[in-house]
Each structure stands twice: as C-alpha cells, then as structure tokens.
C-alpha cells in the first residue's frame, strides 16, 4: 500500500516537472524579454533601467545550462523558483504575484464552490427525477431541452442573464464585488445562476444516461421483482451504483474550483483568480500566466493522486499497479 502511494506521488512529481518544462519552452523561448520590459516600464526608458528591470524579473540570464553557468541560467532558475513558490512579480504592473493569488483565491472560491455544489445537486436531482419518469413526456422534453441548452454558447447565457435578471428585473447587481460577507452574496447570485444555467444541459444529459443505463441492469429487475417501490430503487440502488462513474467525473473538477471561472469572473467583475488570468492575457503578463497554469496543474496532479489512492482504499478490485 505504502509502496503504491510513494510510486503514485513520484509519478505526480514527474508530471509536474514535465509541465514546468513545457511552460519554459512556451514562455521563454517564444517571447523576448526586451519586449516584456519595454511594455512594463515604457519604451522611452534608458537601457540601464531596462537592464535593471530584466534583472529584477529574472530575464537577463542565458537560457540553457552550459559551461560556466550550470546553475545560473533561466531554465534552472525557472525550476527553482516555481518549485519554491517564489513566483516573483507580475510583468505588467510589478505587483507580487503570490499576493494577488492569495487575494484572489477567496472570491474565486466563493463563486465556484456554491456553483459546484448547487450544480451537482441540481444536475443529479433533475436527472434522477427525469429518469424516474422515463418514457413520459417529462423525460422526452427533458432530453430535447438539454440538447437545446447544450447547443447555446455560454456567452449567450451571460449576456441574457445580465440583460434579463440584472437590467430588466433588477433582482441583483449586474456586476461587481464587495469583500464584506453581507454584501458579497448579492454579487454572487447572478453569476452562480448563469453558471448553473449554462451547465445544466450537459450535466442532466450525462447523469441521465448513467442512471438509465443502470435502471436496465439486472439487479434493478431483481429488486423490482422483490417488491421494492420505484422511488426506493432510484435512491438506494441506482443512485449508489451510479455514484462511481459520477464521482470520477466530479472529482476531476474539484482541483480546478480554486482557479475560478475565467468567463464568469471577467464578465461579472469578480476579482478572483480567473479575473487575474484574463488581465494577464490582455496585459501580456507572461509571469502571471505561467504561474496560473503551473498552479492549476499542481492542483490537478494532487487531486489525481488523492483520487487514485482513495480508489485503492475503497475498491479492492482496483489494486492494479
């Protein structure tokens, strides 16, 4: 057991190193440090000031390890800094990246966590409901509606939501945020509703397929023959057995909850990590961009390791290597 955990963790570490190399290739080989410097401090700056800026941000060394500078090159520096969480300063406005991440994590979570939980409840609840009434007009219209809902771009949900609920009905503010907990929920209500609406089509379709597959299985027929009520079958047998594929799907999403939703945060003005990333895109802030990708991958790998380990503990059949 311990050996498995160690091996799994070691593999995870390897993957993270691979991600870092990929990021290095993408961000250091493809763009020139001089450009980034000039964008940050204005292109009228003296060469001395540009050189100083590059030094502060770690862009002034040779790219690869070579004779004479095995330790003092950008590749090694990149690895060292990322692995010690020394993300340095933003390329665009010189703020300490770690600070902004810490500040942005809260707002992101307060959006993604409720949305995730509500989305899960809503999706599973609705699909269970629909599967219960399979073959009736409820089921058929649900299938049609979910396919329709899936074919609409999330952009349109955002536009529609803001226009309808924010502007016409005036239920909630259109956008913005406030750190205080009392006012915060006013701002989160609309993005959560829009996020749920955008995702419900595909989740109902997915969960319904899983449930319906199970309903036609033999054990359900047996339970029905034994005289169990329909509702009991749905909740106790089908739901429990369908949990494994559902969980697999769901657990992979958990690591990304912290990263925030790029679209929702940008459109609704929530100052979370997603908004931070969008700002990094528009501001050509490569330092922040690669930090965000790195952190995302860290979460993912950690989540994967945990999932695999918990599977091994829960299901004895899955003791593969």
């Amino acid at each position: 057991m311990l050996a498995y955990i160690l091996r799994r963790t070691a593999y995870g570490v390897l993957v993270v190193l691979g991600v870092l190399f990929f990021l290095f290739a993408l961000f250091f080989l493809v763009t020139k440090p001089d450009d980034i410097a000039r964008k940050a401090i204005g292109d009228k700056a003296m060469p001395a000031v540009i050189a100083q800026w590059k030094k502060n941000h770690g862009y002034d060394r040779p790219l690869w390890p070579g004779p004479g500078h095995m330790k003092d090159n950008m590749l090694v520096e990149h690895y060292r800094r990322m692995l010690t969480f020394d993300f340095g300063r933003s390329d665009a406005d010189d703020t300490v990246i770690l600070d902004r991440i810490e500040k942005g994590a809260g707002p992101s979570l307060s959006l993604t966590l409720p949305e995730f939980v509500l989305g899960l409840l809503l999706g599973i609840g609705l699909s269970l409901f629909v599967a219960f009434f399979r073959e009736t007009y409820i089921d058929r219209s649900a299938v049609v509606l979910s396919v329709l809902a899936m074919s609409v771009s999330s952009l349109l949900y955002i536009i529609g939501g803001q226009y309808l609920i924010g502007k016409e009905l005036r239920w909630f503010p259109i956008s913005g945020f406030d750190p205080s907990w009392a006012v915060r929920q006013r701002f989160l209500a609309l993005p959560i509703v829009v996020g749920l609406a955008a995702g419900i089509g595909s989740s109902v379709r997915f969960y319904r397929t899983v449930f319906i597959e199970d309903i036609y299985k033999d054990y359900v027929r047996t339970a029905r023959a034994k005289g169990a009520g329909e509702l009991r079958i749905m909740t106790r047998h089908v739901l429990q057995n369908a949990m494994i594929p559902i969980l697999t799907n769901v657990v992979t999403e958990i690591p990304f909850l912290l990263m925030g939703s790029l679209l929702l945060e940008a459109s609704f003005g929530i100052p979370g990590l997603g908004s931070l990333t969008v700002d990094a895109i528009t501001g050509n802030d490569f330092a922040t961009l690669r930090t965000m990708v790195y952190i995302g991958s860290l979460f993912f790998v950690a989540g994967q390791i945990l999932t695999d380990i918990s599977y091994t503990i829960a299901d004895p059949r899955v003791r593969l290597d």
Binding site: T31, K39, A48, Y137, F172, I174, S175, D178, A182, P271
Partner: protein
C-alpha cells in the same frame, strides 16, 4: 395509492416547497452594490476602467493615475475652477510669480510658499524623529521633487520641459555618470545622491518658504508645469521609507501628499478610496481664505444660471469621501449610473441616442433630474504618416506628398464621428484645438474635406493611377499599424481602410500586440498609425512641438511619431515658442499651419468632446478640457440620492412567482398520471 407510495411522494413535494421559499426570498433581493451602512453618507461614487500604473508624482502621466495624484497632491499653482480661458491662481504658493528677466538673458521666478502647511499623517515621518507623524512643507521638498525628475533612476517622462531650468540637464548627466562609474552609488539614499551631483543653479532654496527658479531662456509655459503634480513637494522620508523593501509598499503605490484628500484605500485592480485630509492647509486654516481652498465667487457667464455659484465663498472640500470602483466593461458601469449607484458618468456609445437629442439632454433624462455637462477637450487625434518611410515619407518628395494628400481627401471624419463617437468630436482642420490661442474657427484645410475625384487625380499625378503601384502592377499596398486588438478598434480601423479602398489603395491592418508595436516604432518600421495628443497645458507650443525635428521619434525617442522634419517649420517654432499671445505670434502660427497643410504629415481627425452626465443630487461639477483636479469643488445631497435610488430600483418580482406556478402546472399532472399508472 398505497400508504407506502404516499410517503414516497414526500420528496418531490418537499422540493416544490423549497422552490416557493426561494421565490419568496427573492422578494428581499436588491441590486445595490454598496453596504447598507453607506446610505446617506457624503460619499461620491464613481468608476474607473484602467488601473493606474504608478502614483509616483514624478512619473504619473496617464489619465488613470491623474485621477488620484491630481486630488491628493497639492501644487504651488492651480487653475481657476470656473474661469475660461484657463488662468492660473495661487495654490500652495501665496501668489503667481511674474517672470523677472535678468541681464544675462536668463529669467527668474520667485515662489513664496504658505508657512505652516503640513504633509498628511504618515508613519514615514518617523525617519525624521521617533513619534513624528508629519512635518511642515518647505521649499526643500519642492526642490527635492525637481531633482527627482532629473534622476535617471526615477525615469520621469517630463525631463524635457524641465531642462529649461539652468543646469538641469547637466545635473541629470552627472547623476547618470555617477551611476555608471560608482557601483555603490545606486543604493545610496536619494538625498545623498542628489547632494553629490550638485550644483543645480536652476533651483535655489532661499529659505524654508522661498524658492527661486532660474531659466536659461524665456519659457513662460514653465508656470503651467507648477500646476501639475510633477512639481508637488515630496518629503524625502517618503522616498526612503516607501522603497518597496522591508514590507513597505513602493512610493508608486503609496503617495505621501499634502492635498485636500488622502488615499486611504488602494486596491488598484478593484477599488480606490479618497478620504478628507485633516492636515490640508485649507482644512486647518479656512480663515486664510486661500484661493485654492475657497470656492470661487466668479466664473463664466454660464456658471450662474447653471447653479455653479451657489457655494461661492465656502471652504473646501465638501465631500467626506470619494469611492472609485473598477468597471472593466462600460455597459454595466453605465447601467449602474442610471440606477443611481454612480453619481457621474460619461455616456456610452450604445445609449447615446437615448440620453442626448439634438445636442441636449433628452426629455426622459431631464425628467429624472439629470444634467449634461459638455466641454471640448484640448486634444487632437490624427492619423500619422511615418515621414522616414520610403513610400509615404518625405524623402520621395512630391510623389509621396500627393499620395498623403490624396489619402487625406478620402477620409470622412464627420461620418467617423457619427458612427463611433455619436458626433462627440469637432472635426479637426489643423493641429490646434478650440480654446488654444492660434486656433481659428474659420480656417479651412482643403485636404480635410472629402473629395474623391481630386484625390484620384492627385494619385494619378503621383504615378499611382487608380491606386495601382507601377512597380507591382497591383493596388498599392500599405500597412496601418496598431496595437488595439479589441473588437471596437478593429471596426474603427476598418472604416479608414474602406475609405482608402475607394481610391484603389490596399491598406492592410497590422494589429500586433503592444510589444511588437513599440518595437516597430522603435525601429522606424511603420508607415501609417493612429495617435492622439492631449494638452499638458493650454498653449499652442504644447501642440506644435509635436512636429519639430528635435522631437523625432525614431532618432530621439521624442513624441514626434511622424518623424516630421522641416527646417522652416523648426525655425518658425523657435520664433513663436516663448512669445506672448500677440498678433505676431498668430501670424507665425498661420505660416506653420500652412506648411503642415501642404506637407500633410498628419491626417487631422478630430478634437474630442467630453459629455458627462450628472445626477440631480450632484452639485458644482464643471468638466475641464484639461486634466485638472476638481473633486474638492464637488458637492452632493445624500438624502436626495437615497430617495431616488430606492424609487428607481424596485425589483420586479412577479416573473418569479409566475415561473414557479408554471413549473408546478407542468409537472404535477405528469407526476400524478405516472403514479396512478404505476399501480
């Protein structure tokens, strides 16, 4: 139905009940973005789109930063709030000094500061003695800031105008040399560094309240610079304390100032808050009735009827706080304004026709009590040609000149302002905007009025018959460089491209990111570009210098991005630069205008107009065509605002009830039928 099944109906019924609860909860919802405790406070709410880059007064040059630096930093001189044309009044200084010509050709100005004025309370003053939270402002602090402008490490964008001070450029050069030659020089405190590079004869501290400036030659516009935050007194303690190290923020994020407001909250990505500064001389000594701390009693003819003289003679400021919120998108910001959650706003293009009819506020908006404030901004936006370029530039003489003139004749600015700016722009005939001496309303630039036939004829004369480039046999291919990749930007550029396509010229939009664009400009690898210039101060020199060869972009990194170089123009510039606004100056400006008209390095587009909307509870607001700080003059009525907000923002709840009822009606029959069948 068996008893068992009846129990099983419970969960769906429970769910329906929860739905009802939610719907009722919605009745308590609201779209107010501020905590309820803020209702009724004398707080001005306004939005900002771009985060300021730096709040260091020696460096801050963009409008976003100026919103803050202009309000917190007090300057020696200020602009009169109401009078037009703009005139200077004393601020921290007791009077506006007059130029005193000296026998050796130099000119001196003698400033006297108000005694007893204090900086804001700040922990940085502990560097001058334990327990000290503030100290008096002295002429040393002004001199220190001027030295900072010369400091190459500060990288101030306005070194050029201050190089008119005697010995300024040499002082700066000495600092550079010491930086390069001495390795430890950089880490010395600022005061010591400047000490080592002295003398600076242009700035002489006579005593704590007297400062003498010496200019190499007459430059009357220097006084305008003393109305801008670049020359505010800066305490050396702040520069040393706010270095960005030891857990202290950098000066760029933490100003230590002396103005009517202080920056109490600064999260530049989302919120900035200004609070009253109790140490401001106007707050501590209202009995001085200083011009910069008292609401003016006279202004323009229109100010009286507009209600802007109601606060005449009262002590400033009126507001307790100004709350800036970041709005990245303009439409939600404007909607919040209409709901009463922002007190002032510009007008977005999309809602313009609803707000304004026939250049006046529409009746619906008037009914809500709003008012419209208009002003022409002292700025000019233009399309420039890179005169160093072989195809469109000056070296190809007559051929390229006719090409430029032809292209100018194809651009319909009236249509452009109609489509993209709701006509909020005065079509530009020349470089100078209205309000600047030298602007003549009846001047007509023949190349700035659409005439496609003439344009085609000129092209033919230039050898580009129907736009065909004789070298390739295909339409002449030019590049329009831009770094604006937003959807709106693309549309605007496409407009110009379409105009030139009518001549047969194929202009390609080269939209790159900001870095590549600056690189191209640096290397001179660009042909056509769109640019604008907003006046620093209301003098013709501040516009015409943009076309002098000294200021060439590629060679000298100056603002003459068109790299225009004409010896006659340069000569005339030197002649008019420091003249008084007399008929002789007008003549010289006319001649310069003629050169620009003929050579056509720019296609002058428009002078933008600023339209701002104000709610009925906001008073005293008058927009300026220049970037001048005015928040200390503004006032508002919080109870009226609260009243209007509640009235305008009642949530519409009936759809929620209707939806719930509908859902029930749809689902319940199905459920009942199903359960019945399942027996």
């Amino acid at each position: 139905m068996t008893r068992n099944d009846r129990w099983q109906l419970l969960p769906p019924l429970l769910g329906a009940f929860c739905a009802f609860v939610v719907v009722f909860a919605l009745a308590a919802c609201t779209n107010n973005p501020y905590p309820d405790s803020d209702n009724g406070q004398r707080v001005l709410y306004t939005s900002f789109a771009e985060a300021p880059k730096s709040l260091d007064p020696a460096v801050a040059y963009d409008t976003a930063a100026h919103e803050i630096t202009g309000q917190v930093h007090d300057t020696l001189l200020e602009y009169h709030y109401l009078k037009r044309p703009y005139m200077l009044i004393p601020g921290l200084a007791t009077t506006v000094p007059k130029a005193q010509p000296q026998p050796d050709g130099s000119v001196t100005y003698a400033f006297e500061l108000r005694p007893g004025a204090l900086f804001q309370d700040d922990p940085c003053f502990e560097l001058g003695g334990a327990g000290k939270r503030t100290r008096e402002i002295s002429a040393d602090d002004v001199a220190f800031e001027l030295e900072r402008i010369a400091d190459p490490l500060v990288n101030s964008p306005v070194i050029d105008p201050f190089s008119n001070l005697a010995g300024f450029a040499e002082f700066s050069a000495r600092l550079s040399k010491l930086l390069k030659s001495e390795p430890g020089f950089k880490s010395l405190p600022a005061r010591e560094r400047y000490q080592r590079a002295l003398p600076l004869p242009g700035v002489r501290v006579v005593d704590a309240t007297h400062l003498e400036l010496r200019l190499k030659a007459p430059y009357p516009q220097i006084l305008y610079w003393f109305g801008m935050p670049f020359t505010t007194p800066v305490p050396w303690e702040a520069v040393e304390y706010y270095s960005g190290k030891n857990g202290h923020p950098h000066l760029a994020d933490h100003p230590v100032a002396s103005g009517p407001f202080l920056l109490s909250e600064y999260d530049k990505q989302s919120r900035m808050v200004l609070d009253r500064n109790p140490n401001w001389y106007g707050a501590k000594h209202p009995e001085w009735r200083a011009p910069g701390a008292t609401y003016p009693s006279d202004g323009e003819a229109s100010d009286g009827p507009a209600g802007r003289l109601a606060s005449a003679g009262k002590a400033l400021p009126f507001l307790d706080r100004v709350d800036f919120r970041r709005e990245k998108e303009s439409i939600p910001a404007f909607t919040k304004f209409l709901e009463g959650y922002y007190d002032t706003s510009g007008i977005i293009r999309e809602s313009f026709d609803k707000m304004v009819k026939d250049e006046r506020l529409s009746p619906e908006m008037q009914a809500l009590g709003m008012s419209l404030d208009k002003s022409v901004i002292a700025a000019v936006y233009y399309i420039g040609f890179n005169m160093d370029d072989p195809v469109v530039g000056g070296k190809s003489g007559d051929v390229s000149k006719k090409l430029r003139q032809a292209m100018s004749l194809a651009v319909d600015v009236k249509e452009y302002t109609r489509l993209f700016m709701n006509r909020r722009g005065v079509p530009a005939e020349s470089v100078l905007p209205p309000g600047i001496f030298g602007y003549e309303a009846d001047y007509r630039n023949p190349y700035r009025h659409v005439d496609l036939d003439r344009g085609k004829a000129l092209l033919k004369e230039a050898g580009y018959d129907n736009g065909i480039d004789p070298k390739t046999g295909k339409p002449l291919h030019l590049t329009f460089d831009t770094y604006d990749t937003s959807p709106d930007g693309r549309l605007r550029y496409q407009f110009f491209v379409n105009a030139w396509r009518q001549l047969g010229i194929d202009v390609e939009i080269a939209a790159t990111n900001y870095n590549k664009f600056q690189e191209k400009v640096h290397d001179g690898a660009y042909q056509i570009f769109l640019w604008g210039w907003v006046a620093d101060y209301p003098d013709a020199e501040n516009f015409l210098f943009l076309l002098t060869s000294d200021m060439a972009r590629t060679k000298n990194n100056g603002p003459n991005t068109a790299n225009f170089s004409n010896p006659e123009f340069d000569r005339l510039f030197l002649a008019m630069k420091t003249r008084e606004n007399d008929p002789e100056r007008l003549e010289i400006i006319r001649k310069m205008r003629g050169i620009v008209e003929d050579q056509c390095p720019w296609i002058e587009l428009y002078h933008p107009e600023d339209y701002s909307l104000l709610h009925t509870w906001v008073h005293n607001v008058k927009s300026a065509g220049l970037s001048v700080p005015t928040l200390k003059y503004d006032d508002l009525d919080p109870s009226l605002r609260q009243q209007k907000r509640t009235a305008w923002n009642k949530p519409v709840v009936w759809p929620a009830y209707a939806l719930a009822v509908l859902l029930l009606l749809v689902i319940v029959p199905g459920v009942l039928t199903f359960l019945r069948e399942r027996q």
